[in-house]
Symmetry: C2
Subunit: 274 residues, 2 copies
């Protein structure tokens, strides 16, 4: 896949060989949508990135520098995907960090993905992945670069026409997230639920935005541990991320779901995100 | 730290921006010692790498190609560290693998580390890390690139004169490994024990080599889950990897240990590794 790439604001082909991201999966990232030439939810992304840097003790680049470099990368594209990566920079072969590491900013631009429109309009089919999300409270919620479990989970199926997303559980069987999405369930007793991410998972920007939409609309929201049985019994299920917005889930394995009014409401909110 | 770097056998400064290793921590690696101009335990490393590739479904480079490229990277250095990384190669911004991905070979050469000789002669002090090793049976044992937990654990202390290694436990409190080493304990009832790595941890090449040495010498070896209490009550403790060989452990927190005859025996075997 073709991509344009900037490192610390300069056009470049790639990262230096001894970078922490490359050898250790150590760093944070955000995946941003460019729509009608605008970077959607940019403030949310920069805030999420700053929190991740703080957790991993990676020097936090100035927000204005990132804004400028993202604008340069977006260029005059109408629609595109930007991926922003912050790494600890160059290091030795072992696991010691350089005390004076200043970090590296990598921004890549990709073409907008060609997902069929029917996935959003009529919903997607989801499998339950065999690959678990590891539990580690120190890493939970952070959008860090050690994503080997997501690649393994996504490689469990090949036919994207048949299955569009995979649901990942932790070792104890709790629902955590999709391979590239967060999950929401409209429960039969009129509560919107999404898994708590205190032990595992990535807290995405679209998840936060939709939680705020729910809050403003007075929808009762429950953020807690969620069993697979509970999810299965939901009236409506949808997944979200910054690129797809909201996709309704119409099947998990052999269980079927309708695209309901609550899902359509969140789909509209996602489309309105600025 | 300076490093020389080769990609797919060609001298290069770094990896392309959109590489799987960089964005997803997806790939395998080996850290190899060059001693007196020879690559130590090269066959063991290539075998370990091949197993990792198989687990992660990364195309396995031909062994003869790797041998040749490692020899080129070793050059005429008397002592050096080589790091060999195999990645899935370039990809898009999401978690899908390209079906025709052929993989990328990255070899970096680093100067031999300047560890003080007394760490080997008189032993090291170890802390118990707050950062856990995640449990994930699908990844356990594999030397993969998602090493964020090791970086976090190693960043728990700064003064390498005071503390030389950190011990990592899993969430259930079992001893798994050091941040960069495997652990052996000579128990008071004449059994050599090392943690089983079915649920978490990295099965290093020096660990395997020393287990084979123990087996040949008729030493009773137990590979099983190990509690911290059990480790603490050992008569001798040592850690190992391909670069340091064997270091005796003389303290874990406030608990003290002697550098005993069993440890010296394994130190000799490590030094004789070819």
């Amino acid at each position: 896949m073709s991509a344009n790439c900037w490192i610390n604001g300069e056009p470049r082909d790639g990262l230096p060989g001894p970078d922490h991201a490359l050898h250790h999966g150590y760093g944070v990232f955000e995946t941003l949508a460019v729509q009608q030439g605008r970077i959607v939810l940019e403030d949310y992304h920069l805030e999420c990135l700053a929190q991740g840097c703080e957790h991993l003790k990676i020097p936090r680049p100035a927000r204005e520098v990132l804004r400028k470099e993202l604008a340069t990368a977006a260029g005059d594209e109408n629609r595109a995907v930007l991926k922003l990566v912050i790494t600890l920079g160059v290091h030795g072969w072992d696991y010691r960090r350089d005390a004076d590491s200043r970090g590296t900013r990598l921004i890549s631009r990709y073409p907008w993905p060609d997902y069929p429109a029917r996935w959003q309009e009529h919903g997607i089919r989801v499998r339950i992945c065999d690959t678990h999300v590891s539990r580690n409270p120190r890493l939970a919620g952070i959008k860090h670069l050690s994503r080997i479990e997501q690649i393994l989970a996504r490689s469990e199926w090949n036919d994207a026409d048949d299955i569009q997303e995979g649901l990942m559980l932790d070792e104890e069987g709790s629902v955590i997230e999709g391979t590239m999405t967060n999950v929401f369930a409209w429960l039969s007793h009129g509560v919107l639920a999404t898994p708590a991410l205190h032990h595992a998972g990535v807290a995405g920007v679209m998840r936060r935005y939709l939680m705020e939409c729910a809050d403003r609309a007075g929808i009762q929201l429950r953020v807690a541990s969620m069993s697979l049985a509970e999810l299965m019994q939901a009236e409506e299920i949808f997944v979200c991320n910054s690129i797809i917005g909201v996709w309704p889930v119409i099947a998990i394995g052999h269980w079927k779901y309708a695209v309901g009014p609550m899902t359509r409401q969140f789909m509209n909110w996602a489309a309105q995100a600025q």
